[in-house]
Amino acid sequence: MTILVIAEHDNQSIKAATLNTVSAAAKLGNEIHVLVAGANCAAAAEAAAKIAGVTKVRVADAAHYDAQTAENLAALVIANAQGYTHILAPSTATGKNVAPRVAALLDVAQISDIVAVEGADTFVRPIYAGNAMATVKSSDAVKVITVRTTAFEGAAVLANEGCSATVEQLAAGPDLGLTSLKGRELTKSARPELGAAKIIISGGRGLGSGENYHQMLEPLADALGAALGASRAAVDAGYVPNDYQVGQTGKIVAPQLYVAIGISGAIQHLAGMKDSKVIVAINKDPEASIFQVADYGLVGDLFALVPELVAKVS
């Protein structure tokens, strides 16, 4: 069993999602290769070699891998797919973009968003927004899989002396020139990323406005070193941009502590955060469904309670 993990990286470093994906791969076998395709990505390749469990890093370094377009990346994976029983990518925007393209080119099914490995060909994945869990078995020769990162602990990163992975340079494939990246607008923030944060402070419609959202939640996030999230209702109301959204149609998170403030707890929001270790809900409505999943519930006016909480934890 030889497994290929498509790394998510920024040419300099490996994204945390790659570590979770390597952990999922380790449940399948112990010959784990990581593909790092990028431009001037030697640093990222070196970082990949330090991931515990990785036996080989395969690097394709060329300008046309800089934007990580699905078309060029999938072609590269296909050209180097020989010998792999499983090809894994994290279930992130990049992974979800490229993996089905790889699967179709190999004429195999993809198993999306797995949360457990039951065997070499059998996996558990959420369906219907996490309201049901399906156990599925693949009959294809190669299993192309995306991994729900919150379901697997991140693999350890080894010190220099501990790592034994070899690094192999791959010939770059052709630039298919099908799509070209014109620009990226990334939300700049000193706070941790939602997907990687240990604590998340999330706000909903109960905050009433974008101004209130920032005024109330930012001091709390700062005091706890937390990331900021939001319900879809808050995003739809324009309080914060879409990439704050936690839920089935937004980000799936599972931090140590999730604090839901002014969030009623729609099914679609719960689907995105119910695997958090500890959930706290603050809401003025004692009947809000968020309390049904919260470990600690506090009923009251968030505009009074949140500043009090900030004062107590600062």
Partner: protein
């Protein structure tokens, strides 16, 4: 320029589904069905492109049982010009749907195919990407903005995509595949006159075998179970008690 949109018939997104007691699947008998919400956004975008004069015809496609005709009538009530149903009672998985769409594209020759990014039943998020791969076309997934322009006789699409941490803009030559994200548009409600008009629009039915596509599933569902339930915790009286619990009981701050 012709646009093809794909629309899947799924359980109504507003109802809570139930897992069958024998664990064989999700209860679908007597459950309200609807067009997949992301596909509604796809149909809306195609119709808007036509209204803006960028497209001459919008063809809606669905695959599944005979009831998918309703889904196609819904798409036509929103403004699609005609419908094609690939009728089968077999279970269809994303790769099979991508192959069916490819076979229709080979006949219809659209310049643009728009699909929802995922269906809210199987949550696969695959069909658009697979279709683009099979066609050898460019893809722009998770679109929140689409602009078409003629660049010296070559139609180009500029698409803003939702990515982790923000947005990115890509440019591609048509023909291409676009999959929709939530913020692309807000689908219209079909008006009664348009619903009536849609009943008279052409709806063609074909079978997978007519298209020469093998739709045999590659994944077998062994069982479907309820997710692990999270039990409700305790209500705390005040902020002081909350902080005390988080520090000493849960030990998370």
């Amino acid at each position: 320029m012709k646009i093809l949109v794909a629309a899947k018939r799924v359980t109504d997104p507003n109802i809570k589904i139930r897992v069958k007691p024998d664990g064989s699947g999700v209860e679908l008998a007597n459950v309200k069905m609807a067009m997949n919400p992301f596909d509604e956004i796809a149909v809306e975008e195609a119709v808007r492109l036509k209204e803006a004069g960028k497209s001459t015809e919008v063809v809606a496609v669905s695959a599944g049982g005979a009831q998918c005709q309703e889904t196609l009538r819904g798409a036509m009530a929103m403004g699609a010009d005609r419908g094609i149903l690939v009728e089968t009672d077999a279970e269809l998985q994303p790769l099979a749907v991508a192959k069916l769409l490819k076979a229709l594209i080979d006949k219809e020759a659209p310049q643009l195919v728009i699909l929802g990014k995922q269906a809210i039943d199987d949550d696969a998020n695959q069909t658009g990407q697979m279709l683009a791969a099979l066609m050898g076309w460019p893809q722009a997934t998770f679109a929140s903005k689409v602009e078409l322009a003629d660049s010296g006789g070559q139609m180009m699409a500029t698409v803003t995509r939702e990515i982790d941490g923000g947005l990115e803009t890509v440019e591609m030559k048509l023909p291409a595949v676009i999959t929709t994200d939530l913020r692309l548009n807000e689908p219209r409600y079909a008006t009664l006159p348009n619903i009536m008009k849609a009943k008279k629009k052409p709806l063609e039915t074909v079978k997978p075998a007519d298209l020469g596509v093998d739709v045999a599933p590659r994944l077998a569902t062994l069982s479907v179970a309820e997710p692990r339930k999270r039990s409700a915790g305790v209500m705390v009286a005040d902020v002081a008690q909350l902080v005390e619990k988080l520090k000493n009981e849960a030990k998370v701050i």
